[in-house]
Point group: C2
Chain length 447, copies 2
């Protein structure tokens, strides 16, 4: 069964494979490889030359249109006019750092902080979710005196050195560093009827004990509250609570990585942690925060910030610049004014129903799970063995592309389709996805 290293290849361009027959694409690929080499990560064996996008649609250089079910960064819709206008206005006025006062960043901070439960009342603005998680790890280590962290086994939390250490999915085939313990994701599909919360809490407790035995001290539990890279695990709401109790009983902090589930995507709450009725010590944010404008952030309790700043100077040159703040404000406005969280709940539920309905006809659809517009569709060889089927996921990803639909996969085997479109997704868009998946699965050879 392919794992880790192979996942990347599932939907990635392989420069060693035979060259494209399309001369323009071949030239564009050669150009990309000439400047970026092996650091280039491209989707599809015939990568897409993208030129423009609006709402849920992206357009390539050949005039072809794609329904975007993959991209969770342009969360309020590609090129949303309100966000575009906010950036255009502010970028011509002032773009500087936070060593001067500026109303835009203070307005943004107030609006953003108002979305958190009371103890979380302070903010540090960064440029990326990676920078946010990097800082969160230090805040937790400084506050607890511990260095050990617990994460899930296929987690991805970002790309800095410190964050790569706690991102098992970025270190294929390598054991975790000494200060990191991994626990199985709160998997619901292969353990039906089990108490997921109790199981997850027991795994976290064992990992903490192991860190303590090793003399490393326990700093915190860091999880993406929808477990996206682990394969999307949302239910039942509340399953995180017992693990957080364990974390706190052991003197550690709970860092909620909201880079993916945050900003209303899960439909019933603005933040993924809120679905579980827990209060994090630290919350990190990124991707959808500026609808594509680079921005990230850490929200936490004042005393935790104080512990860090007593020890280390932290300043982020671009973090909290007024253009980012203007983009961030516009995103919050659009989510509220267009009712996008509610739309995520309603259309997400409708889409899940549709996928489950065709699931009755396709034995390869093992599970449909998620919350709001963050849905995982797990493909299996058959429903009895529940054997993960990454090869079918690959076929579906490429088949959907032929239907003009962009989608990706996640999970330890790459067998779970990640469905996380812009939040302005409509029922009609959902119908297109369901019927296209149905059509692609119908065309696949019998198991």
């Amino acid at each position: 069964m392919p794992r880790d290293k192979e996942i990347l290849a599932l939907n990635a361009f392989d420069p060693q494979a035979p060259a494209s027959a399309d001369p323009e694409l071949r030239a564009a690929l050669e150009r990309r490889m000439r400047s970026f080499g092996s650091s280039s990560v491209l989707f599809y064996q015939e990568p897409i030359r993208m030129v423009r996008a609006e709402g849920v649609w992206m357009h390539d250089a050949d005039g072809r249109r794609y329904l975007d079910v993959y991209n969770n960064v342009p969360s309020v819709g590609h090129s949303h006019p309100a966000v575009v206008e906010a950036i255009r206005r502010q970028v011509g006025m002032l773009n500087t750092h936070t060593r001067y006062l500026n109303d835009v960043v203070d307005s943004y901070a107030e609006r953003l902080l108002a979305t958190f439960p009371a103890p979380i009342s302070h903010l540090v603005l960064t440029c990326t979710g990676s920078e946010a998680n990097d800082l969160a790890l230090r805040i937790a280590a400084t506050a607890t005196g511990g260095t050990g962290f617990v994460v899930t086994e296929t987690a991805y939390h970002g790309n800095t050195a410190a964050v790569t250490d706690v991102s098992p999915s970025s270190r294929p085939g390598r054991a975790p560093p000494a200060h990191v313990r991994v626990v199985p994701a709160p998997e619901s599909y292969r353990n039906p009827g089990e108490d997921i919360g109790a199981r997850f809490a027991a795994a976290v407790a064992a990992a903490i004990a192991d860190l303590q035995r090793a003399g490393l001290g326990f700093a915190g539990l860091l999880v993406d509250t929808i477990f996206s890279s682990d394969g999307v695990y949302a239910d039942p709401p509340g399953f995180l609570a017992p693990a957080i109790d364990v974390v706190h009983a052991q003197g550690g902090l709970f860092i909620a990585d909201e880079v993916q589930p945050g900003f209303g995507r899960t439909g019933t709450a603005f933040w993924g942690f809120a679905r579980h009725d827990v209060v994090p010590d630290i919350v990190t944010m990124g991707k959808p925060m500026g609808n594509g404008f680079p921005m990230g952030g850490v929200a936490t309790r004042p005393e935790l910030i104080d512990r860090l700043t007593a020890d280390t100077k932290y300043f982020n040159t671009f973090g909290g610049n007024p253009v980012a703040a203007a983009a961030g404000l516009a995103v919050l406005d659009v989510i509220r004014d267009e009712g996008l969280m509610d739309n995520a709940r309603v259309v997400g539920g409708y889409l899940m129903d549709g996928l489950r309905e065709i699931g009755n006809r396709h034995i390869r659809i093992g599970d449909v799970r998620g919350s709001g517009l963050f849905i995982g569709l797990e493909l299996v060889r058959d429903r009895d063995t529940k054997t993960p089927a990454p090869e079918i996921a690959t076929d579906v990803i490429n088949g959907l592309r032929d239907h003009g639909i962009l989608i990706g996969a996640a999970g330890p085997f790459g067998s779970t389709l990640k469905i996380r479109p812009p939040l302005c997704f409509t029922r009609e868009n959902a119908d297109s996805v369901v019927s296209a998946i149905d059509a692609v699965l119908r065309r696949l050879p019998a198991a």
Copy 2:
């Protein structure tokens, strides 16, 4: 003599000091502290409420105008129309990641890579200089198998955990981590007549030997090629070469941090390393790259990237987005079309001449040094002892603010004024700076 921790206080707002008499400013400060708390870093005891900026000018909420001699991010000028227009155009069209092909990012990569000597032919785009240095450290460690780095004693290279480890100025009063060795900056003022290159190379050699004795292995030397945080050391050109020879002889890599000196600021070369006629193994970039749009990058040899990507997956969500690339292209266009590198050389030289001229009349001006529009003016108690005078630097910083000029300080004692205005600075602007410094120093009580 104040060191490290105290430097920050030289020009920083202190929330413990008596509140401002200005009720609007007091309200703005309370608002800032309420959301950002101790992570907030503000300039001046009466911070400035900045509202707009263009070219070399910034404007506050009271309609006051400031000549900007501090900010090296808006390097082609605040709100430059060509950069603003490029961002406005692209942000309404497409803002996505590099997993799709897009001409804008490839055009940018080609233009940027053309500024480097031949072996440096591959690029990784990030969002910040911090992310760039964080990645550069990993590239060097992976390529060499070593974990040890050598940096200068007041260096600043960014804000991630790994980069903070190699940034002594961010860790006031703390010993460097086990894998880091610090060497004195290539100081020219207190060691006249000495061979700076030989001295610096000997210090680097000793540090490498110490890392090797400790069994850590030597990964690389990381320096800002104008030694900004160390107090600005530019001359004589070529002084870096002997140290780089030592680095290579010991199997390490030379990482040139061009976040501050890059993009033409030093006047005679597009990159700071080029003034020293050395070829880095890895170059990192940030601040001025997008004139304020968050972007950074690592340029290096293909085989060094290959070593990293064989080991670790790296992907940067916002890095290389088409809006950043459009901003970056516009910056390169403006530097070329407006002859800004040449302007930096000519106006920078004129400004240094003017500062040296008033230096003849002010015993507190110990040294004027730098290259192009990156100038350090070191203030001393008197010229014989060369005792650093951070208190006079503070007086000058605040005095210049009263003259409507923004400036900051650097160096191990905070006694060196950092002069690094937008590159469109004119002779008239230079005259204003010289006469204002002259006036402020005249008003100071006699030594």
